[in-house]
Every structure is written in structure tokens, then in C-alpha cells.
């Protein structure tokens, strides 16, 4: 409930440098060839994400934040620069199943029960049945869907379906979780609950998360670092370190520290917009 002063840990800059980089992008560029003229989606992106970070990519529509994440996930190929995931190329990282992806929509398969949806990646990776079921139960419990394993996706609400897709992404225990505006389609109350859930999961498991959003409060609430991007061509305007403690709850949104970070994000966004 209340923020324990003792547990407040500002991210120490010295210690940050010793944590291994999970994602390392240098001079990353992506240009689309369209019928009229080439479109620059990403322009010279330099970004390092370290283990245990919760990084939000925030910016207006069309700023390339989803594109950046898709490049990291090897769902798009860059046209310039380089990016490594855990020291490997994105393709190798994908083949090694180093990350889990959560889309804007739950993308659950309607012909599979919730449990079988969560075990889908595990089946593909050839895991044994007993272990698959054990993991599915564990991660469904973790996201609070313990009793719903046998239900079908259409029997669950939107928020519950999205939680199931998070459980699915976590079930094979990747180092990196990539989330593309996963709560965008939900109402605010559900969103708050899921944000809290997610930040607690992060604090518990210490995973590295990259989170795309266009909501400032959501970005500030969830992250340890916020990357503000500008509209086309997609550039990084600023990277803001959030000093908020790892263990946080919804009340933190009313503290002056929170408002200060939010203000800095807003200023950076406005600056980015004014380039247009």
C-alpha cells in the first residue's frame, strides 16, 4: 500500500553498466519501398536494454515503436544498422526461442481450450506432456486464471483473454518479453488491474520487458526506463530513467516523483511532435 522508504532504489548508474545487455541496437534503420516514395519507419536508432529492465517505448501513432519491436522479434528485417538479442542476431534469437511476444489482441486459437492455448509454444518446442501441463497450470495461476484452464477463449472476457496470452508468452520462460500495446483495447479499470499484475510479475520474476504503449501514465507506472520516440522518421527523442521503486502499486501514481517523470515524458513527446 504505502511505499516503504527503505526499499526505494534509484537505479544506480554504476551497477546498471554491469548488467548484461539483452537488446543492443546500433544505427538501426528501416526504410519501406512503397509505390510512391520510400518511407523511413526507423531512423538511426541506438538503444541498449539491459537484463531486468522494464523499458516502455512511447510515442504518437506512426512513430515506429511497434516496428522497432518487430525488428527485435525478427518479424521485420532492418535495412540498415544492426541489432543483437542476447548477443545473437534476431533471427537466431527467434530460432532459439529467446523471447515471448504479446500482441495487441489476445490471438488465442478458438479451437483450443485456455490450457491448450498456453501449451501451444511448448508443444511446438517438443516438451513432454506432463511438464507442459504443469507449466500451463503454474503460469495460469500466476496470471490469476487458475480455474479457467478448461474454458474456451470466447467464454472469457477481453481482459482475461489477454491475461491468458501473457501466460502463454511466459510459459516457455523466455528472458525477454515483448508486449505490443497489450492492454490498449481494454477499459481503464481492467487496465489498472492488469498493469498492477504485470508490474508485480516483473518484480517477482526479474524478466526483461519491452512494452509499447501510447499512454503516458501506463508507461511511467510500469517502467524502469522510458524511451520517447518521435513520429516519422522514427527517432529516439529521449531515454528517461525512472527512479520509481521496483515494488510499486497504484498509489504511486499520485506521488510527486511519478508526476515529475510523467512531466519529463510529456515534454519530450511535445518536442518530438514540434519537429513535424
Amino acid at each position: 500500500m504505502t511505499i516503504a522508504q527503505a526499499s526505494r532504489t534509484a537505479t544506480p548508474t554504476a551497477a546498471a553498466e554491469t548488467r548484461p545487455p539483452v537488446v543492443d541496437a546500433r544505427g538501426l534503420t528501416l526504410v519501406y519501398q512503397t509505390a510512391d516514395a520510400p518511407v523511413t519507419a526507423l531512423s538511426d536508432i541506438n538503444l541498449t536494454i539491459r537484463k531486468g529492465d522494464f523499458v516502455s517505448l512511447i510515442g504518437p501513432s506512426g512513430c515506429g515503436k511497434t516496428t522497432l519491436m518487430r525488428v527485435v522479434a525478427d518479424l521485420e528485417k532492418p535495412t540498415g544498422g544492426s541489432v543483437t538479442v542476447n548477443g545473437k542476431t534476431p533471427e537466431q534469437a527467434r530460432l532459439d526461442r529467446s523471447y515471448g511476444y504479446v500482441f495487441q489482441a489476445p490471438a488465442l486459437y478458438p479451437w483450443r481450450s485456455i490450457e491448450r492455448n498456453v501449451t501451444l509454444p511448448l508443444e511446438i518446442m517438443g516438451m513432454a506432456k506432463a511438464e507442459r501441463q504443469d507449466r500451463a497450470r503454474r503460469y495460469l495461476d500466476l496470471v490469476g486464471l487458475g480455474g479457467f484452464a478448461r474454458k474456451f477463449p470466447w467464454q472469457l472476457s477481453g481482459g482475461m483473454q489477454q491475461r491468458a496470452s501473457i501466460a502463454r508468452a511466459m510459459s516457455f520462460e523466455p528472458d525477454l518479453l515483448l508486449m505490443d500495446e497489450p492492454f490498449g483495447a481494454l477499459d481503464e479499470i481492467t487496465r489498472d488491474k492488469l498493469n498492477l499484475h504485470l508490474v508485480r510479475l516483473w518484480a517477482q520474476t526479474g524478466m526483461t520487458v519491452v512494452f509499447v504503449t501510447h499512454s503516458i501514465p501506463e508507461a511511467v507506472f510500469l517502467s524502469s526506463r522510458i524511451v520517447v520516440m518521435s513520429p516519422r522518421p522514427g527517432r529516439i527523442m529521449e531515454v528517461i530513467e525512472s527512479g520509481l521503486p521496483r515494488d510499486r502499486d497504484l498509489d504511486v501514481r499520485e506521488t510527486p516523483e511519478f508526476l515529475d517523470v510523467a512531466h519529463r515524458v510529456r515534454v519530450a513527446l511535445r518536442t518530438g511532435h514540434s519537429y513535424d
Binding site: 518479424l75 479451437w111 501451444l120 511446438i124
Partner: protein
Amino acid sequence: MGRALDSLAAALGLAGLAVASGLVTVARLAAEGPGPSTVVPLLITLIAGGSALVRLSSREGWPSRVATPLLFGLILLWGWEVVVAGFQVPRILLPAPSAIGEALARAWPTLAADFWQTFVRSVIPGYAIGSGAGFLVAVAIDRSPFLQRGLLPLGSMISAMPIVGIAPIMVMWFGFDWQSKAAVVVVMTFFPMLVNTLAGLAAAGAMERDLMRSYAASYLQTLVRLRLPNALPFIFNALKLNSTLALIGAIVAEFFGTPIVGMGFRISTEVARMNVDVVWATIALAALAGSASYGLISLVERGTTFWHPSFRK
């Protein structure tokens, strides 16, 4: 709840009354011919039946949904019988349902043999081979968008053509017996299955396909776990369509020449001999076979694609 039962009871009661007076009408017509004694039960049937229909059709729930078309069908049959008997319609023009039923019973051994020749020996193998081949070819060319873009327009074009026209050619190649009829069925069922399976395989959403890509799933895994289950509604669409086409194809192909057995053969020869009630009996048998196969496929469809939005209310 009491109210609902009430009105269902009332509707069913009216339906029962309609059935009873319908039977009375038919019996009196058969015994005495049209006259004053038949007018009263006739009117009762019409009024009771009509109001039962209106009541049943305004209710929800599956009993009413099943009872309404059933009652309607019964009234149609009754009307047919009454009109034929009442107006003394000549048998060769339109036999009464009772006459057809009698012909069915009388000629049963012959009709059963015809059914075996046409349905079991021509339709079923042709349907299985044609649909199977269509499915396999679709999966085979799934990896080649080039081939798809070439074959799909051809397939749609051929589906629009009067395929039954190849029956004489098949007879020339495979002889008079069931093989040529099965061949016609194969050609007729191949293209709808091909076109529908390709459409179904393409139907998986971009997000779902990206998901599989993020799992580094192989082509085979993506095919089996995502694209084939997703394609099932389309495949069943084709299977249902093909069941109709197969039966029509086999029967019409027999118009072009067949050994002295087969439903198409029976129809064309008995027509020439003006044994119209046997013809109708054959058609009734074909109708039963067609509806039963369609119903069976629909049941399997419901079982395997229960998750599709069109089945969820």
C-alpha cells in the same frame, strides 16, 4: 415457465388437431371422393394447421424450430394428397404421396439395387477421391503462390462450367459401368474442394501467423496447428456442396449410358414407360440419400468446428 408451456402445449395441440383432421380428410376422400363430408375436416386442418404454424414460428427454442418446418412439410404433403385425390389428377401427371409410397414398397428390390449401383458404387468412391484429391493438391500448391495464382482462376472457371457434359467422354474412356460415373463425380468434386481449401488455408490471421513465427515453428507445425484447423469451416463448406454435386453428377451421368441398373437409368427408362410413380419413388430415395449425407456431414462439422462464431450464439 407455466405460460411458456401453456403456449407450446396450445400450439402442439393445434398441430395434433390438424394432423388428425388431415388424416380424416384423406380417408374420406379415398372412401367417398370429394364432397360435403370432406369439406369440414379440410377446413379444420387448414385453420388448425395454419394457426399452429404461426404460433410455433413465433417461439424460440429448438423444439419449435424443429416442429415448424416439420409441420409445414406435413401440411404440404397432405395438401398434395388432397389436391391429387380431390381433383382426380391423372397418375401420369402427378401421383399422390400415397401412390409413391406404395410404388416404393412394391419396387423395393429393384430400387435397392439401383441405389447400390449409383450411390454406393459411383457416388461414394467418386466423392472420396475427388474431395481427397482436391484437398491434397491444395496443400501441395500451398507453398507456391505462383501455382495458386495460375490454378485458382482455372478452378473457378471450371466450376462454373456444365461438368456433367463430360459424362459421354468418361463413358468412352472408362466404359458403361460405375467407373465412368465415379470419374464424373471425381471431376465435379475436385474443384470446389480445391478452391475452398486454398481459401481456408489463406484465412489464418496475420497476428496468428506472426505468433507462430515468433515460436520459430516450422512450416509443417504451422500448417497442422494453425492453418488446417482454421481452414476447417471452408473445407466443410466444400464437403457439403460436394455431397449434392456428387449425387447429381452420378445420376445425370447415367442418363448418358449405363448397364441396366442405377438410379439415373431407372428414371430415364421408367419415364419412357410412363411409370411415373416409380420415377417419383426413385427420386424420393435419392432425396433421402442426399439429405441424409448432408445431415451427416453437418453433424461432423458441428462436432469439429464448434468453436466457429457461426455456431456460437
